[in-house]
């Protein structure tokens, strides 16, 4: 049990700086997801917490103690790797107990802890098997078992689900979340999958190019993105983004279409803005017209794609409706869900 604090962390590989000053506090017992596109520095940050990468400048603290110069094994952390990194020549039991054996713990304790971990992870029938005899999900669980037997202060997960198929990924997502609920161990989880981030995190940290763009609870970052990048990165299908000029009650696009605004909006009249509205906040009704291009029924809902000038917009409706291609339909945005971004700075206007 411990908090993790990153203070003004920089990381350089030769002359190339990949992390540009990250400050982050991960509270004791929380589940924090580092989210971002590939190359954003999220894995590097995690590896710096683990001690697998050195820190160029700044401090890494675990449980209030500076650990910059500590060897990974002395940091009281456990890590689950993307490719599991299991020891292929050892049985499941030996894989899980390896750290305890190295620490020269009494055999009784080793057996007890391995049994306990195997029970939690439903691995009891497989203890004598080798990793090659297991399915992807089982291997993933062994990797987690290896982490939990040590009862570390912090769990680190590096894209642990990206090698699994879609169905298993959903299942393992729940299992990891459940494990965290039970053990309440501080967890740092790296992923590029925003669904994983949204469903699992207590706090999401969105990174781009080595800096933190935004952090907050999943719903905070979803409902109140601070800039265009966050708004587009979170949510699927992505938020509709339409360029225009702000007026008192609406935004006018280049084609003269009027997009309605709430009364309380903070944009200046004549300001170049980007009008953002999530597909599920866009309904068929009275608002602005667009030409239908494609409809995609997914079962529970229908995704409607339509052309608005040069932009393509997407709306999600739940009612069963038929739309003809090329027909003009009016879309009504939920005014309280409209996001406005400055076209120049890309920051949210609020």
């Amino acid at each position: 049990m411990a908090s993790v604090t990153l203070k003004n962390i920089f990381k350089k590989y030769g002359d190339i700086e990949v992390v540009h000053g990250v400050d982050l506090t991960i509270e004791d017992g929380s589940f924090v997801v580092l989210l971002g596109p590939s190359g954003c520095g999220k894995s590097t940050l995690l590896r710096m917490i683990a001690g697998l990468e050195s820190v160029t400048s700044g401090d890494v603290e675990i449980a209030g103690k500076r650990v910059n110069d500590k060897h990974p094994k002395d940091r009281d952390i456990a890590m689950v790797f993307q490719n599991y990194a299991l020891y292929a020549h050892m049985t499941v039991k030996d894989n899980m107990s390896f750290s305890l054996v190295l620490a020269k713990r009494p055999q009784l304790e080793i057996d007890e802890k391995t049994q306990w971990a195997a029970k939690i992870l439903n691995l009891e029938p497989y203890l004598k098997r080798y990793p090659r005899e297991l399915s992807g999900g089982q291997r993933q669980r062994v990797a987690m078992g290896r982490a939990i037997v040590r009862d570390p202060a912090v769990f680190l997960f590096d894209e642990p689900l990206s090698n699994l198929d879609a169905k298993l990924r959903v299942q393992m997502r729940t299992e990891i979340k459940d494990l965290h609920e039970r053990l309440k161990t501080t967890t740092v989880y790296v992923t590029h999958d925003q669904i994983e981030a949204m469903t699992m995190a207590d706090k999401i940290v969105i990174l781009r190019d080595g800096i933190i763009e935004q952090m907050g609870t999943p719903l905070e970052v979803y409902d109140h993105p601070v800039n265009l990048f966050v708004a587009q990165f979170i949510g699927s299908p992505t938020m509709n983004m339409i360029k225009g000029i702000a007026e008192k009650t609406h935004v006018i696009t280049a084609d003269g279409v009027k997009l309605p605004l709430p009364k309380s909006h903070k944009a200046k009249a004549g300001q170049e803005v980007i009008y953002g509205i999530r597909p599920e906040d866009l309904d068929v009704g009275t608002g602005f017209p667009a030409k239908i291009s494609v409809t995609e029924p997914t079962g529970p809902e229908i995704h409607i794609y339509a052309d608005l000038g040069d932009d393509e917009i997407c709306a999600i409706v739940r009612e069963r409706q038929e739309f003809k291609r090329d027909s003009i339909v009016e879309f009504a945005p939920r005014l309280d869900k409209v996001h406005l971004f400055d076209a120049k700075t890309t920051m949210a206007i609020r």
Binding site: K73, F81, A85, Y87, H89, A103
Partner: protein
């Protein structure tokens, strides 16, 4: 990608043909080793299978029996010669000692060096690898004469000291085989993801423990494959053994002595040759899977 049917058939025919071309001399050799002399030297026709097989060539070369002795015992008049000069038991022992010794030395060095080259960053690593590979390009005959002189001065010739002779042969075989063993082992180490080392480190292993308890056991198939290759290269080496030793006679050198001024003992040559090939066959079969993967030098990733 599915190939058209006629291409597949053509490919299979080509494969069988090539295999046959390569296997034929070995099969012919094995066949010769069990032929009686009359079948080996039939001046009217080529004898394929219509002969009475005999194990006399093996009895003489591998068990030290005398051909004339056997002939007298069986009451046939065929046997002349074939005495101690053809008893190859000592040669086999010499070959075993030298090959196993050379393999042990080679692997002991190659495993550590390859681990370092695979896992540690240091200045000149790429250049070093190229240099190692370059060693393989040098033909042994180019260094033969200086080597004989050096060995003489260093007391590594067997007519000065028998143990020195064994040691000398092991050392030069180890040197010859180090580059290939090193590159092979490096490719096997490269196949083990670095995450595994890191996982071991986080689990509390020291560098030595992560090498000895995790990474090395994971490449044991590769170690076996490389060792077999080194063993076979040492087992079949002729030139250096011929020049560097006198009383130590490895099997290839011994076989060469069966070519005599009074005629060539084809039966004995074939028998010892066939017998010597058997360990290679068995070892190769055991490690074939790893060997094919290793010889592609890490180009295949799982």
């Amino acid at each position: 990608m599915e190939q058209p049917r006629h291409l597949r058939i053509l490919r299979d025919i080509a494969a069988v043909f090539v295999t046959f071309v390569f296997m034929f001399p070995i099969l012919w050799w094995a066949l010769t080793s069990i032929k009686p002399i009359s079948a080996v030297f039939d001046k009217d026709r080529v004898v394929f299978f219509d002969f009475v097989p005999t194990l006399i060539n093996y009895a003489v070369t591998l068990f030290g029996l005398s051909r004339s002795g056997i002939a007298i015992d069986q009451g046939i008049g065929m046997g002349v010669g074939g005495a101690e000069a053809y008893d190859s038991r000592r040669a086999i022992l010499d070959s075993v000692v030298v090959s196993i010794g050379a393999t042990a030395v080679t692997m002991a060095v190659a495993v550590f060096a390859a681990y370092a080259l695979s896992r540690m960053a240091f200045r000149g690593r790429a250049a070093y690898l190229n240099w190692v590979l370059g060693q393989r390009f040098m033909p042994p005959i180019a260094i033969l004469i200086p080597l004989v002189t050096i060995y003489k001065d260093a007391g590594l010739r067997d007519n000065d000291s028998l143990y020195g002779g064994y040691l000398g042969l092991m050392m030069i075989y180890a040197l010859m085989n180090l580059p290939i063993a090193l590159l092979l082992m490096k490719s096997f180490f490269d196949d083990v993801p670095k995450d595994v080392d890191e996982a071991a480190m986080i689990d509390g292993a020291t560098r030595w423990q992560s090498f000895s308890k995790v990474v090395l056991p994971m490449v044991r198939g590769g170690v076996a494959a490389s060792a077999v290759l080194v063993f076979i290269f040492s087992w079949t080496e002729f030139l250096l053994s011929l020049f560097l030793t006198t009383s130590i006679r490895t099997v290839p050198v011994k076989i060469q002595t069966f070519v005599t001024s009074t005629g060539n003992e084809w039966g004995f040559i074939a028998a010892l040759g066939t017998a010597a090939a058997i360990p290679s066959f068995i070892f190769i079969l055991l490690v074939q899977r790893h060997l094919v993967r290793g010889l592609t030098l890490g180009s295949l990733k799982e």
